[in-house]
Every structure is written in C-alpha cells, then in structure tokens.
Amino acid sequence: MSTYSNQCAIVGVGENQRSRKSGTTPLHMALTAARNALADAGLEAKDLDGIMNYSTAGDSCPSHELATYLGCHPKYVKDVSGGGSSTELLIADAVALIEAGMLETVLIYRSMNGSSGEKVGRGYDPNMLQEMLPGGSFIMPYGSASPTQWFGMFANRHMHETGITKEHLGHVCISFYEHAQRNPNAFLNGKPLDMETYLATPDISMPFNIHDCCVELDEANAIIVTSASNAKNCKSKPVFIAGMAPRTTHSHVHYWTQVDEVAADHAAAELYKSAGVKPEDIQVASIYDCFSWVVLRQLESYGFAKRGEVGDFVAAGNLKMGGSLPSNTAGGMLSEGYTHGMNNVLELVRQLRHDYKGTDRQVKDCELGISTGWAGPDIAGAMILRN
C-alpha cells in the first residue's frame, strides 16, 4: 500500500449539545452537528457530494434523510452498521473515493440518543444477540450481554499477565477527568476524580467501576473530509490524513474464543508505515476509551509503552497535559461524552489546528496526532493526522 500522501484533509468538525436527555431525534441532532461542521469549514450543504453514517442496532438516522433536510442531493450516501472504529474506517472510505476522483467532499456523522434511547453499554434486548449474532447463543444464557463483561474478560487476563493493577486503570480515568475540568462542554466538567474516590467506588463488573466506563449520552458529531486541493478553499486550517490502517482479528463478534490478542496489535505496523512515522513522533493522541483498560491495551498495541510497562507509563502522568503523550484532551469518552469514538477525533482535529492556542488546553505546537478506533477486540481502525 502506498502512503496516504496527505492528499485529503479534515476541514470541518461539529457537534450538538450533549445531554442525558436530548428530547429530540437523532435526525435533529445530526442536522445540528452537520450544520456546525459546515460552518466550521466555511462550506455549504450543496458542496457535499458524499454523506456517510454509522450506527448500532439502528440507533441513528440514514444519510439520505440527513441530506434531505440539509437541503442537498449528494452523489453518494452510505450507512453502515458499525462500532467504535467506524469513524476511522469511514474516513478511509472517503479518502479512497476522493483519491479515485469519484467524490470531492464527504460528511461523516454519528448521531445517537445513547442515554435516553438505545444504550450500547447497558445491555441489549435479551433475544437480539442470540438471534442476530453468530455465537450469541453461547453468551446470552450466561448473562454476558454488556461490553463491560465482554471486555472485562480480556482485561482480567491481560492484567493477570502484565501486572496492570486497579490503580493503573484509575490513572487513566483521573488523567482524562482532569482534562474534562478544562473543557466546559465535557459532561463531567465540575466533577473531578481522585484516586481515593476511584478506589472506593464499587465495581459494576470486575475490573470496571462506573469511572472506568464511558459516559453514555445523547450526542451527534460530524466531520468533513475533502481533497487537499479543495481544502485551500475552506475557512478552517486543514488537518491532513497522513496514515490509516484497518484490521480485523478473531473469528466472531462477541464470542471471543481467545482473549489474548486484539486487532490493534496487528493494525499498528501498517498504520505507522502508511504515515512514514514512528510512535515516538506522535505528540497528541485520541485513544479509544469506552473503558479505561481499553486505553492501556492500545498503548501497548500502538507501541507507546512496552507490554508490562504500560501501567507505569500512565502512572507517570504521560497521558496528561505536559506528559509525553497527552491523550483524550477534551476528557475522552470516560468524561467528556460517548459519541462512539467520534468526539475524540473532533478534539484531535482541534488540537492539531491549535484552536486552543494561548490556553491551558492546547498541546503546545503539536503537529502529529494519532486516533485509535476500537469496535471491540476484534476490529480496529486507526489513523494518523498532521497539520
């Protein structure tokens, strides 16, 4: 595979106001996010010739419907059933279609009433997984219906093998909560977390307590990707897509017969090769954080710390502002809000544009960032962005 050669850029990002109860539909929320992304880019809806969206169990609105009420008629719409790596994977699709000359400007969104509507994390319909998913009949009868349980099985084995402790999980949470205190739009702004409180919080499902789990909210996010040549016409500072790697592993979704490897382990080499950079070149990060442990596991996968040293890496404050890898600097999904991965990418774009320059939120002079998507242990999608 050739390198991405920075031929495409993210030129607009936008969101709606996140809340526990939106009182409205995913379509309304997506319209707000899309209009904000268009305004950010200085584009109009008629400039979009592609719109893409991902959803879980039909919790979003279709791209064609969004296009209808933006008042535009794009050439291409695409709706996928996806997980937390879909932001990166749809951006990869957009890049391919733009580089092929089929499209010029693509809007990608995720809209979900994740708190008041369908909840990814609080258990699906009892018969849904059995009927729809291969392997579902082998987990549901045992009460395993929540990602806390599925990923916890990986976490406990990994912690056993590598010496990662509950305190190490706590350092991930505390680092991100600290960022949320600087972000007025973070849902847990005003609710800082210390280690004593963290350790005193009972587990929902071992090894995870409520702080280890992302904050499920009603949210919509949108991202606009265009060609590097068209990016010059946009109002915003372009953030170029420098590298990309998708990857699957495991035979099944939700029945993981082995809990040792994750797809990210295999994505990393291709990712860095595609961008022509190394882990130590990365200055700011968006690490998928549906659960605290998922961050630790990916830090190992993507080469930021060696297996067995990841706990010490986060305990030393490396994920915080001023650390070697400031990560999830808006608070992440653990404390800003959960838009199924996309809100972390919005923040990475804003960091690389230096939108926070002159404030304590800006990762000073950052030029190169990584975003790691995790749809589960089985599917990864990661990208490298540069300004």
Partner: protein
C-alpha cells in the same frame, strides 16, 4: 398448591449450525464441532471452519467427564439480562478445556464463592436442567 417458578434467563437458541451442541447438552454431554480438513475444534460451531475455511465439518462427542481451567473470568455485580438479578454476583468464565486448551468454553461458575475463583483454578463441567427438555452446561470448581 406450589407454583413452579418459570426460568427467566435466556434459553440457548438452537440453530442449523449449533443444534448438535445444544442437543448433546440436553443429554448432559459435550459435543464439539471439528473441522474435517484441519482437525481443529470449532467453537462456537458454525457453517465452516474459521481456521482454514473448509466447509467439511464433523461432530465429536467428548462425553460427560469434562475438565478445564479458568483462563479468564469476570464477576458481575449488576444484572444485564432477566433472571440474573436473583444470582448476584454472577461469575462468568472463559475456560480452557484440558482435552484441548485452545478450546475455550464460556459459562458461569455456579455454586461458588467469587473469592475462590482465580485464573488457573480447575473446573468441572456440570449440566443444569433449566426446563423440562433443556439443560445448560455450566462450570463448578473442581474440589480436592
């Protein structure tokens, strides 16, 4: 008159691909699908071998004396499905079969103190009759 309590938890759904496993479970036996081409066990069962892609598969009866060790486990303090609210905390394990540790079978560890569960402890398979004609494979701690 005593009222029989209905089984509230999800009952394994038999399908074209998995019914041999559950039919054997109803008889308190473990039967696993195996690839006829590469001889790898296929669990959970499916329409072809995930290891080599061969559509030629067969079934192997392993019987009722099944032992394993805890490869990983979780302890859940909140019910995510109906029926589990009566049995908290719930211990769920991925257990490696002694007969072939590459085969991992997920089930609860029943009748145990969660404090006694750790990675590596030995298990024995048991079958719980959940309805008149269905039985569910489960693990218990293998003692002494």
């Amino acid at each position: 008159m005593t009222k029989q309590t209905a089984y509230e938890k999800p009952i394994p759904l038999k399908t074209q691909d998995n019914h041999e496993y559950w039919d054997a479970a109803d008889q308190h036996e473990l039967k696993l699908q195996k690839c006829s081409a590469c001889s790898t066990f296929i669990h959970p069962p499916g329409p072809a071998c995930p290891t080599c892609g061969s559509p030629e598969t067969e079934w192997e009866l392993l019987g009722s004396d099944i032992t394993a060790t805890v490869y990983s486990y979780i302890v859940s303090y909140r019910p995510f499905l109906p029926g589990f609210q009566h049995e908290l905390p719930t211990v769920i394990t991925v257990a490696a079969l002694d007969a072939d540790p590459d085969v991992k079978i997920m089930a609860n560890i029943i009748e145990c103190d969660p404090e006694d569960v750790e990675i590596g402890v030995p298990l024995k398979m048991t079958w719980v009759d959940i309805t008149d004609d269905r039985a569910l494979p489960q693990w218990v701690l293998a003692r002494g």
